[in-house]
């Protein structure tokens, strides 16, 4: 989902909880633009989401009685270039070059570790991401059961046609 023009995120876990976090992220980034007339850095945005996760919500009335059951991958582009952060329900976040989350994440992480290279092109990255997904998915990868989004340098969710084009390259 898109958080701001320059930041997107992917979720795994209780996706309903993720909506609250994404909404909070959207509000925080827009507040930042209003106050400072500049895009919010990806790290600060990630920190804002983790602050919420830590408190189980905001304030007395809106806070939950349980942690947010969702991990996020926050991808964005700011003054430091493109970057990726991984968050979990504890409110901790790590910066990564490549990461997989969810049920098939262990196998996928290993595959990423083998094939990832810092100087990959966008096309190579698309192919790597989708082929890694293919490895851990039980069904066949089609344009209707996978989503791809990129932040390069703005957020863009691929159309089914664009996804199909990547699938063809696998």
């Amino acid at each position: 989902m898109e958080i701001d023009e320059h930041i997107g995120c992917a979720m795994s876990g209780l996706t309903a909880d993720a909506r609250t976090l994404v909404e909070h992220g959207r509000v925080e980034t827009q507040n930042h633009r209003f106050s400072y007339n500049e895009p919010m850095s990806v790290e600060s945005t990630t920190q804002a989401l983790c602050d919420l996760a830590l408190r189980f919500g905001e304030g007395d009335e809106e806070s939950m009685s349980r942690p947010f059951g969702v991990s996020l991958l926050i991808a964005g582009h700011d003054d430091n270039g493109p970057c990726l952060y991984h968050t979990d329900p504890s409110g901790t976040f790590w910066q990564c070059n490549a990461k997989a989350i969810g049920s098939g994440s262990e196998g996928a992480d290993t595959a990423l570790q083998e094939h990832y290279d810092l100087n990959m092109t966008l096309e190579e990255a698309e192919t790597l991401a989708l082929s890694t997904l293919k490895q851990v998915m039980e069904e066949k990868v089609t344009s209707s059961n996978v989503d791809i989004a990129k932040v390069a340098p703005t957020y863009h969710l691929y159309t089914p046609q664009e996804v199909e084009a990547v699938i063809q390259r696998l």
Partner: protein, 238 residues
Amino acid sequence: MSMMFAPRLTEAAAPTTHAAPTWSPYDNNGGTCVAIAGEDYCVIAADTRMSTGFSILTRNYSKIHQITDKSVLASSGFQADIRALQKNLDARHQIYQHQHSKQMSCPAMAQLLSNTLYYKRFFPYYAFNVLGGLDSEGKGCVYTYDAVGSYERSGYSSQGTGMQLIMPVLDNQLKSASPLVLPLRQSTTPLSEVEAVDLVKDTFASAAERDIYTGDGVEIVIVNRDGIRHELMDLKRD
């Protein structure tokens, strides 16, 4: 009985009258501020006289405040409000640095100042501000404000009691294209840093002749890639 409930046709509603106010929360301490943006520098200047009514409170008061390494605020008006505004901005900047691990850029500070002023829209800071500094690309920028936060980036500006004497001179010497004209043209002046400082000194010397609230001295701050430099020049003390 019926008279008690009869509408009063002839008596007009008595208007409430307020006694003429004897106390004002505001005072004008006078003075003038100027800023000029260059290709890779920014000059911010203000006189050092602080007055009240027809009296001088001090000949040696700074209206200039450095907020970040690259932004300098000059304000004329009610100095108590201005001091509070400066402290407010400093605090906000500290928080920003803690949260984002970097200093605020000048355009970000400009927006923050605007929001801070508008926050007190119904009991304003009596401050007429000019914010100067370098933007993220290292080019000079000047932002000029009204008391409630309306702001605009331009190549030069002046505010305060001497504004109307100085502004036409700057317009004549530095005339830059309106930001409304397309294609958007550079608003910074082609003058060199030394020429801009000389121009500022001349304008203050002229303003001090006729504006009774401007005089005693002018403090000039120059921001460029090497850092921030201060100069002081004497003005007429009458």
